[in-house]
């Protein structure tokens, strides 16, 4: 019998938690419950599930640099509850309005009480401050109807990263109950906008996937556009007019320094990372003619030109396996979407609907390509990589530049208001439901969603 199967008690559970520094340490996956395992149902966003999230218990409350652990227990529950609610799949209760639970209850829920509320699922947990000052967060998911535990997780985090423990817990619950991959514990780079329409101040900024931990990177003295997080989150590709001309830079977040991706007298724009972070895709206009190029991210490679049509070939996004690139071109007379091999061979058009098609973005799940369709208004939609199955997800005056959640289930984009030019960041489920605005301190555009953090 495995060690894990023996551990039903909190005390022994704690012994399993492996602490590390930067990345969130997670316990090995818990064993599958022996009996009454509920079957995973097909993911269906039309069916919302009710889930209760009482405040996490702080067994011996202690102060931390991020506040008292008892307060953190409530805040973590609030983030879990808010993440799950925002996914559109769950109706959440708590922590406000729910009673405090006792420590013993964490591993032995009062199913009868919760059944009567009524709720289908229950999340309970604890926060403990360790001798090293780090937080240990335990997180348990129970099926109230079946009266059993379905998921348990433990995390060891520095107090300042308490939100990440909450996101990891919410991710585990979301994955368990929907069968989808996680996405809450991830970050977004975007352009924060302010000022009048003809003199817009545009700053590079980053935030967590729920808008928390917001941070401006550039000060707005020069226009910044179209950021992309590297897969490791260590750097950001973006366009800056810092020397007066549009050029792509790679910004090192820790060092706070940036460099040009390639020395060139020509404008460079529309940057993207390859999925492994080794290659940078970009567009460059030479004598007015724009083509798609790639270059090693190491900083000392030679650019490789991938397209050569006389029109505008621009943008581009790698398939998750890195073998193909989707991009846009007006070689046919108007903007349309094309796919090519990563070496530039076998270029073929895939969009044939009414209007123009722009800003293609390959889903991390490989099955779909998101795009902006321009037919009067701008709408965000998806199609399969062969161009079939086109669907439009939004309907507004100007929705532009989709970016995928790391699980390929949610799409973020920005919306421009007619007249004022004010921008805001929105997200929508793949089904077109649960459209909602992301909170940002000022206007926002050009969102770019990064991968799930380790």
């Amino acid at each position: 019998m495995s060690l894990f199967a023996l551990n039903r008690k909190l005390a022994s559970f704690l012994l399993l938690i492996l602490g590390t520094q930067a990345a969130i340490a997670q316990t090995p996956p818990p064993p599958a419950p022996a009996t009454d395992e509920p079957e995973l149902v097909e993911f269906d966003t039309s069916k919302t599930r009710s889930i209760a999230v009482p405040a996490l218990v702080a067994p011996s409350p202690a102060d931390t640099p991020a506040g008292n652990s008892a307060a953190l227990g409530r805040q973590i529950a609030e983030v879990i509850s808010s993440n799950l609610r925002a996914s559109g799949v769950f109706e959440t209760q708590g922590p406000n309005g729910l009673r405090m639970i006792g420590l013993a209850e964490v591993t032995a829920p009062q199913f009868g009480y919760w059944k009567a509320r009524p709720v289908e699922q229950l999340v309970q947990g604890f926060v403990r401050v360790g001798g090293d000052g780090n937080l240990t967060v335990g997180c348990y998911l129970y099926d109230v109807g079946f009266g059993n535990e379905t998921t348990r997780l433990g995390f060891n985090v520095p107090p300042r990263e308490w939100r990440r423990a909450a996101h990891k817990c919410a991710d585990a619950i979301y994955s368990r109950l929907t069968g989808e991959l996680p996405f809450f514990d991830s970050r977004i780079a975007y352009i924060a906008e302010s000022g009048p329409k003809n003199k817009r101040i545009k700053r590079l900024a980053i935030m967590d996937s729920d808008g928390a931990n917001h941070r401006f990177i550039t000060n707005g003295q020069s226009t910044a556009l179209t950021p992309r997080f590297s897969p490791s989150y260590k750097s950001i590709l973006y366009l800056s007019y810092v020397d007066g001309n549009p050029r792509i830079y790679v910004y090192d977040i820790d060092a706070g320094r940036q460099r040009l991706i390639t020395q060139s007298n020509s404008p460079t724009f529309a940057p993207r990372w390859s999925p492994d972070g080794q290659t940078i895709l970009y567009s460059m206009a030479v004598s007015g003619n724009t083509d798609v190029y790639k270059i090693s991210a190491s900083g000392n490679g030679t650019p490789v030109k991938l397209t050569s049509s006389p029109g505008i070939d621009v943008g581009g996004s790698f398939s998750p396996d890195g073998r193909q690139i989707v991009f846009e071109s007006d070689r046919s007379g108007s903007q349309q979407i094309y796919v090519m091999n990563a070496d530039g061979s076998n270029q073929r058009r895939i969009s044939f609907g009414a209007g123009r098609y722009a800003t293609p973005e390959w889903s991390p799940r490989a099955d779909l390509i998101a795009f902006t369709r321009i037919a009067g208004d701008f709408r965000v939609g998806t199609m399969r990589p062969d161009g079939s199955g086109e669907r439009l997800l939004t309907n507004s005056w100007q929705d532009e530049a989709p970016t995928w959640a790391p699980n390929g289930r949610v799409i973020q984009f920005f919306r421009t208001a007619k007249g004022s030019g004010k921008t805001s960041i929105w997200q929508v489920d793949l089904t077109g439901s649960n459209e909602r605005q992301l909170p940002t301190p000022v206007d926002g555009s050009d969102p770019a969603w990064g991968p799930v953090l380790p």
């Binding site: 003809n198 226009t223 724009f269 206009a285 007015g288 722009a358 800003t359 321009i374």
Partner: protein, 177 residues
């Protein structure tokens, strides 16, 4: 406001024979007064000397010599071709440049807001190059001309309508001090 608009329209018709009467680019509402670059106006005019006179060869002089809106050519949606009317505008610019052979220029290419960001950057660059190529073809030394695309980032007219978009699809010549 209506009165002012009419007044300004009348002024435009009187002063810019180049633009008036052309179906493609007729504008009923005027763009703001030409101001060199479309942003970053300085409160004191650096091109005027102490007596308030325009210095020959300056940006102010350029704007005065090429006439109102003579610093820019306009384009149709997604297009970048220089038509006969644009050529006349650029010829006047070239004449001025011939008088000041040491002056260099930047051609700023712009697009309207009804295009996606990256495509508009490419389109602005294409438009700026169209203007540059024509200027070179009529004798302006290519080394005197640089281009920059602002895509849809720096609109000249602020509305979200056909008239504003027509004014924003432009290539603007700015002298470099």
């Amino acid at each position: 406001m209506t009165k002012n608009t009419i007044k300004m329209a009348a002024l435009l018709l009187a002063s810019t024979a180049l633009i008036a009467g052309c179906g493609k680019k007729k504008v009923d509402t005027l763009p703001p007064a030409a101001e060199g670059t479309d942003y970053g106006q300085t409160p004191t005019d650096p091109n005027a000397n102490a007596a308030g006179q325009i210095i020959p060869g300056s940006q102010e002089d350029f704007l005065q010599q090429v006439g109102q809106f003579g610093d820019r050519i306009l384009f149709e949606t997604d297009r970048f071709n220089v038509d006969a009317e644009d050529q006349a505008t650029l010829q006047r610019q070239a004449q001025w440049l011939a008088q000041y052979p040491n002056t260099r220029i930047t051609v700023e290419g712009h697009a309207d807001e009804r295009g996606t960001r990256d495509y508009n950057l490419a389109l602005g660059e294409r438009r700026a190059n169209s203007a540059k190529n024509f200027l070179v073809s009529i004798g302006v030394d290519a080394s005197r001309i640089q281009t920059v695309s602002y895509g849809k980032e720096r609109p000249s007219a602020l509305g979200s309508d056909e008239q504003a978009w027509a004014q924003n699809r432009r290539a603007v010549t700015v002298t470099i001090r």
